[in-house]
């Protein structure tokens, strides 16, 4: 049979027999290119961190004219991590009690809720952390181990490690996807940029919230709105990318081959 008469090359294979046609050269090229970008970003991390923190400081200086914000550095693993030093405030006993009551009511409402149980149970856990925090500040306020400065360092150092891990993982995930080489590079850079940029914005937001509404929300902000959120952006962008690639693959029969 002549090659052009092979029907298997004209029919989109059933999903059980589908396999992506591979260009080994391009696949290896994708891995190398993404790895090089990763190394490049990693080596510029100190500069990126410095600039990001400077931006945050400038924004906070504008927002709080009378407050003092300083940039300090501490060594964390292989990084010299810059972070913002400032002061915050402890909650009053009355505010802690009010937070406890509101959180408790919210917890009951979420517990009773029967719709979108997965989301309500997740929110329940966040509210539960807030209840623990309120109780802590009512009874053991003097033992709270963080200041806004130490939390600021903790948050940034955790984020730095997270960004590095996340870029490494998403590099491994994006490289083998059967898409245009340059598109993959763009998506990889976009994901890397988004986690860093949005990470700094979240850092800023958390400092503002803690400055405005006291340390009582520190545990929930760290465990609920910390590095987990980075994964939400990254997975969302990755999902949209895969969706786009899938749609284009379905239109191109020659991108697939049959399992043999």
């Amino acid at each position: 049979m002549r090659k052009k008469d092979n029907l298997k090359e004209k029919i989109l294979p059933h999903r059980a027999y589908r396999i992506i046609k591979l260009d080994t050269f391009e696949l290896i090229g994708s891995f190398i290119a993404i790895f090089l970008i990763f190394i490049a970003v990693f080596s510029f991390f100190p500069l990126i961190l410095e600039k990001g923190i400077e931006f945050c400081k400038e924004f906070l200086d504008t927002l709080y004219v009378s407050a003092v914000f300083e940039i300090n550095h501490r060594n964390f693993l292989i990084f010299d991590v810059p972070y913002i030093e400032t002061y915050g405030k402890y909650p009053t006993k009355n505010f802690a009690i009010l937070t406890l009551i509101v959180s408790f009511i919210l917890a009951i409402a979420l517990y009773k809720n029967k719709y979108l149980k997965n989301i309500s149970m997740t929110l329940f856990v966040l509210v539960f952390i807030n209840i623990l925090s309120a109780l802590y500040f009512i009874f053991f306020s003097q033992y709270f181990p963080y200041s806004l400065s130490s939390f600021s360092y903790l948050f940034i150092s955790t984020s730095v490690i997270n960004w590095a891990v996340l870029m490494f993982i998403f590099g491994l995930l994006i490289a083998p996807i059967p898409a245009n080489f340059f598109l993959k590079i763009i998506v990889y850079i976009l994901i890397s940029l988004s986690v860093v940029v949005l990470g700094f914005l979240r850092y800023l937001l958390i400092i503002v919230v803690l400055k405005e509404y006291t340390y009582i929300f520190m545990p929930v902000l760290f465990l609920g709105f910390g590095i987990i959120v980075d994964y939400v952006y990254a997975v969302m962008l990755y999902g949209f990318f895969v969706s786009f690639v899938t749609a284009s693959l379905l239109k191109k029969v020659d991108e697939w081959r049959w399992v043999e």
Partner: protein, 424 residues
């Protein structure tokens, strides 16, 4: 003393994070294998005129909403009638299931009903009773809410032409995937779990799992090894490990697709997850050391077998890990743990239990051609707490079953949602 407690808390986090990383790598290998590796085809393409004799068992308890659909489809199945029988197992039904089954049995002589109104309830007990009357050498099982296509009996049965094959498993696809967020997320999990996870385990000669429905086994092996253990809720997982530790293989037949009804309600899903977790963990307690000692398994099969046995233990450990983190946070001792915390987050998106991680799902949707549903991937994060809580409850029950032998086991039936006839 305080220092030792903190050391233990940190050590625990480190251990859990290490396990999480191990699972993340395992699933990454599976995703790569399905996308880039050589695929192993099941025996579905064999054309053979001497097909084995087959008995199809359909366990039913109050299944009046779905029973007519599956019976009608099994009647229309493409399989030689002299080698084919259908045994609907009516297990203590109080609705019209009995009447529906009897009506079909009157019309078709290859339908041999089994009505059970005494003895132990539940799927394993029902299957054991049915095995006593089975005529076929191969037993295939379909849950009552499944909609088997015409050729599936042949596609599953033909695998048993190879004498080393002890069991076969087909692919499950939700028919009501578009119903709501829950069914859409379940569809994603199924897609990753079957198209990628099961297929990759089959490709790599590891442990593809027999899932208790849309699959089957050799009658003789099960009878010779004592039938189904009526105190185990996951008789499917138990059978998988029994097959492998007895020197037989499980085939994953990716092409043998069958429609199922996914739970549409979170309460129903919660009960299902809890039951699966209890059953799977019962098997873990029973087979952990048997797998390690087995002479029939290779090193990698043992390694994967142990990881598979532990999939419903990890969420319980992970949930404890988060509690541990919370304590360390309030003690002000979290700094050094921070990088490890990252690993825990990884597993958040990896899904838990035997549900597929986000990158496995993305690979599955790409191969399946699901263009829009994959955009829901970030919502998987919200399943972490839900699954974690109910899997932990199931693990706790299994632990009590293990400690207090002879505990009474109740089969918790999954509620059906079908409102209209889906078979014309």
């Amino acid at each position: 003393m305080g220092g030792i407690i903190i050391l233990i808390l940190k050590g625990y986090i480190l251990t859990v994070a290490g396990l999480c990383a191990l699972y993340a790598i395992r699933h990454l290998i599976f995703a790569y294998d399905r996308l880039l590796g050589k695929q192993r085809i099941f025996y579905g393409d064999i054309i053979d005129d001497e097909l084995p004799s087959v008995s199809v068992l359909v366990p039913m308890h109050n299944e009046e909403k779905v029973a007519p659909n599956i019976l009608k489809l099994l009647v229309e199945a493409d399989y030689p009638r002299d080698r084919y029988e259908v045994i609907p197992i009516n297990d203590h039904s109080e609705d019209k299931t009995k009447e529906i089954i009897d009506e079909f049995a009157q019309k078709y002589d290859f339908i041999h009903p089994l009505h059970r109104y005494s003895g132990k309830r539940g799927k394993p007990a029902g299957l054991n009773d049915a095995l006593k009357m089975v005529k076929g050498e191969i037993v295939l099982i379909f849950d009552a809410d499944y909609l088997p296509p015409k050729g599936i009996i042949k596609e599953l049965a033909v695998n048993f032409k190879d004498p080393i094959v002890g069991a076969v498993m087909g692919r499950v696809i939700p028919i009501n995937a578009d119903k709501n967020l829950l069914t859409k997320l379940l569809d994603l999990e199924r897609c990753g779990g079957y198209q990628v996870d099961q297929q990759a385990r089959y490709n790599l000669n590891l442990i593809p799992q027999y899932g208790g429905t849309v699959g089957g086994f050799r009658k003789d092996i099960v009878l010779e090894t004592g039938g189904f253990d009526e105190n185990v809720l996951a008789e499917d997982t138990e059978l998988t490990y029994r097959m492998y530790t007895s020197g037989y293989k499980v085939v994953y037949a990716n092409r043998a697709e069958c429609w199922e009804e996914a739970p549409e309600d979170w309460e129903v899903r919660a009960r299902q997850v809890k039951r699966w977790s209890r059953g799977h963990n019962q098997v873990m307690f029973k087979y952990f050391f048997k797998v390690l000692k087995s002479k029939h398994l290779t090193f990698f099969q043992k390694f994967d077998g142990i990881l598979l046995l532990m999939v419903y233990l990890i969420p319980a450990l992970l949930l404890l890990g988060w509690l541990d983190l919370l304590i360390l946070f309030f003690l002000g001792d979290i700094n050094i743990i921070a990088p490890v915390f990252v690993m825990l987050v990884l597993l958040l998106f990896s899904g838990i239990g035997n549900f597929a991680p986000f990158y496995e799902i993305a690979t599955g949707t790409m191969i399946d051609g699901l263009t829009k549903r994959v955009r829901l991937l970030p919502f998987l994060m919200f399943n972490f707490v839900f699954n974690g809580v109910y899997i932990t409850l199931g693990f706790w029950q299994a632990f009590l079953d293990f400690v207090k032998r002879n505990r009474e086991i109740h089969w918790d039936k999954t509620e059906r949602f079908r409102e209209e006839e889906v078979v014309e």
